[in-house]
């Protein structure tokens, strides 16, 4: 269909914002040092800060930004996506790995992963929730994100493909946002047991 093809030539943009890679490297190096030294504060820092950012972004994207994008025209979505999606390519995996690696070491440091510990059932519940979120994020959300970016790179991006993949991206972001509510309940329960 002719109206599904965006005829305006897209402006150049980077799928992976290479200028942000040093920042990502700093986070990874800090995380490895925190794990290697097994210091409680450092592990807590990576888990809490990473988790807070991850949760807040998922909730904001799923329940605030997502519905707004859903009402925007295709050209407006394209313009937004070109600026927004590349940032997500580096940001989300970094936040997720900092949260999970920091959290696992923290739970081990505090003995929460021992099946005899009173926190253990909640830790297992959080593993299940995170596992389902990982399947959604890596199975649907991230490929949709990449698909949109590569479509936007084309000489003549297909609006239908972009709309389809963006819809998938936003639905899955909403779903992970809803699951983050479960994470918040579990984490506050662990902290107060």
């Amino acid at each position: 269909m002719a109206h599904d093809v965006i005829t305006e030539k897209p402006k150049e943009f980077k799928i992976v914002p290479t200028s942000a890679i040093p920042l990502v490297a700093i986070v990874y190096i800090g995380l490895i040092i925190a794990i290697a030294t097994n210091r409680l504060w450092a592990l807590d820092f990576f888990h809490v800060v990473g988790g807070a950012c991850w949760t807040a972004i998922d909730l904001f994207l799923g329940f605030v930004i997502g519905p707004i994008i859903g009402t925007m025209s295709i050209p407006a979505r394209v313009e937004f996506s070109k600026k927004f999606m590349p940032k997500m390519v580096l940001l989300m995996p970094t936040l997720v790995i900092a949260t999970l690696a920091g959290g696992w070491q923290l739970a081990r440091h505090e003995g929460f992963i021992l099946s005899s510990d009173k926190h253990h059932p909640w830790v297992v519940a959080s593993m299940i929730v995170v596992g389902v979120m990982a399947i959604i994020a890596l199975g649907f959300l991230e490929p949709a994100n990449l698909g949109v970016l590569f479509e936007l790179k084309k000489e003549r991006p297909n609006g239908e493909v972009i709309a389809k993949l963006m819809k998938r991206f936003l639905y899955t972001a909403g779903l992970t946002g809803a699951m983050q509510v479960a994470t918040l309940i579990i984490m506050t329960r662990i902290a107060t047991l």
Binding site: V16, Y28, L31, I32, I35, A36, P93, I97, A101, W104, Q105, R108, I113, L114, S115, V124, M127, I128, G131, V132, A134, I135, L138, G139, F140, E142, P143, A144, L146, G147, F150, E151, K154, N158, V161
Partner: protein, 130 residues
């Protein structure tokens, strides 16, 4: 009109689910000695899934392999690093023997499955797919 492609994405998501389920099952029972049969079964099924996907990919004609490998190689690098970091954590935590072997196999499958999934998802929408 674009031709129908094999269910590579669907199998990749299934592989991911099997790997995650195996990992969570094992992690939930640490440090107790637990039967490795459920996780071994899940990991073996996941490995079969990756092999099936490789076969299905090899059967596709007129695919945008350039784009597939472009995405797959960078995904392999990124998730290979993440899998390496997780392997380091397991070793540092004193995981050894058959549990470490199983966890390593899980990470290898995880790091190989995602490049196939991401590469296929991007390449399937390419204009070069006939």
């Amino acid at each position: 009109m674009k031709k129908k492609l094999p269910p590579v994405s669907e199998i990749s998501v299934l592989v991911l689910a099997l790997v995650v389920a195996g990992g969570v099952y094992l992690a939930a029972h640490l440090p107790k000695h637990v039967s490795l049969v459920p996780t071994t079964t899940l990991v073996a099924l996941a490995a079969i899934g990756v092999l099936v996907n490789l076969y299905l990919l090899s059967q596709i004609k007129g695919f945008d392999w350039e784009k597939f490998f472009l995405v797959a190689k960078w995904t392999l690098l990124a998730y290979g690093l993440i899998a390496g970091a997780l392997e380091y954590i397991f070793i540092k935590d004193g995981t050894k023997g058959s549990v470490l072997t199983l966890m390593s196999a899980t990470l290898v499958i995880f790091a190989l499955n995602l490049p196939i999934h991401f590469g296929f998802t991007v390449a399937r929408y390419s204009d070069k797919v006939s």
